[in-house]
């Protein structure tokens, strides 16, 4: 079997296929035609090196691109809601043709926005923390890809929620509805653009072994030593903090009942999110 054929086979075994594999094989073939005695090392090692280095840099790039897209989309959402004052709209008390769809829009915006922000920050944090690593472990790259994918998906859910709110708030002034719809479309476009580097990251995964890391690796320096290694305690404290902050905000705004209700709901959502996604997103120290 020629080196070229062997390399093609090993690249496939390393999970590198399609156009990327054809390109690598073409480049190495060209190199061997220039120097038939070139020492490229065993084909298996070369294939693994490609997988390790490309899988690492692509996962990191996807995380950065995802975070940038979500920052753009998030700014647009904030602008839409900030403009409700000028448009004299008192969300969430709006007469909509379908109150159910309007409420669904509000729920999607709140839930999607929070998940997108949390997962996007976690993905970027991991990429930033491992910015100098030439190769990260396979499980670490999986965590980065999952966080980015969840963040972008939740971002799209959030954008669809904003679009639903804008389309259902037909008593609102025209410019605000247009602004809301245009912003949700622009935000969705930014998120879709970030799916390109993510799909590129999905093409190749490092092979190198190693721990996948957890929340304490990502921002352990922020965690007081007694809480390290206790993810559930951290999640419960964080949820409790959210309850207190939102309840306090309700008191300041003169509606303590509403503030307490939103606080409890948000706190419960935080605990539920941690229970459902904590392991998947590499927050809890279990297998990827």
């Amino acid at each position: 079997m020629s080196y070229r054929d062997e390399l093609g086979r090993e690249l496939a075994r390393a999970g590198i296929g399609g156009r990327l594999r054809r390109r690598i094989v073409a480049e190495i073939s060209d190199h061997l035609s220039c120097d038939p005695n070139a020492d490229l090392g065993p084909a298996q090692d070369l294939a693994r090196r490609f997988a390790d280095e490309l899988g690492t840099v692509r996962a990191r790039r996807a995380a950065y691109a995802g975070f940038a897209a979500l920052a753009v989309a998030g700014s647009l959402v904030v602008a839409v809601f900030a403009a409700t004052g000028q448009a004299q709209i008192a969300l969430p008390k709006v007469h909509a043709p379908s109150q159910l769809l309007f409420d669904l829009g509000m729920a999607l915006t709140a839930l999607g926005g929070q998940i997108a922000m949390a997962a996007g920050v976690l993905a970027a944090l991991r990429a930033l923390r491992r910015r100098d690593a030439q190769v990260v472990a396979r499980d670490e790259a999986i965590v980065m890809r999952r966080r980015t994918a969840v963040a972008l998906l939740a971002g799209l859910v959030c954008m669809s929620g904003v679009a639903l709110i804008a389309s259902e708030a037909n008593h609102a002034v025209g410019w605000w509805r247009t602004f809301g719809l245009a912003s949700s479309a622009a935000g969705a476009c930014a998120i879709v653009a970030a799916l390109i580097p993510l799909s590129s990251a999905l093409e190749v995964l490092p092979i190198a072994g190693g721990p996948r890391g957890d929340m304490f690796d990502d921002f352990g320096w922020l965690t007081p030593p007694p809480l390290r290694g206790r993810p559930w305690i951290v999640a419960l404290l964080l949820s409790g903090g959210i309850v207190v902050i939102l309840a306090a905000a309700g008191i300041v705004q003169g509606d303590p009942y509403d503030g307490a209700l939103r606080g409890v709901l948000d706190g419960l959502a935080c605990v539920a999110g941690f229970a459902l996604l904590g392991s998947y997103l590499g927050l809890r120290p279990t297998r990827a």
């Binding site: 060209d30 120097d35 020492d39």
Partner: protein, 103 residues
């Protein structure tokens, strides 16, 4: 020079040899050998993954050449030039310190 000694410097070396003009993989390796007077005998298998990685990081761009032979030609991007300048500065500072200590 041992490959271990070059560890961590390969990216900077690749960026440096592409500074003047674009080149394909084999030519990059040859330039590294020539410019080092043969001292940099890199394991050739390390160069191609590094080229792909640097491209994925936005420091290089590449395209197939139009000549009779189909070759992937790499060139520095603007980010790559900035990165090279940064690495040069770091290297000079490091070399000065080592020189001061070892000399």
């Amino acid at each position: 020079m041992r490959a271990e000694t070059l560890k961590g410097h390969l990216d900077g070396l690749i960026l440096a040899v592409l500074e003047t003009e674009p080149a394909h993989g084999y030519a990059i390796i040859e330039r590294l050998k020539q410019r080092s007077g043969g001292a940099l005998a890199l394991p050739e298998g390390t160069v191609y993954p590094a080229l792909h990685r640097l491209e994925a990081a936005g420091l290089l761009s590449s395209s197939w050449s139009d000549g009779s032979r189909r070759r992937r030609v790499y060139r520095l991007t603007r980010s790559g030039r900035r990165e090279l300048a940064g690495r040069r500065g770091e290297w000079k500072a490091f070399a000065n310190v080592m020189e001061a200590v070892l000399a």
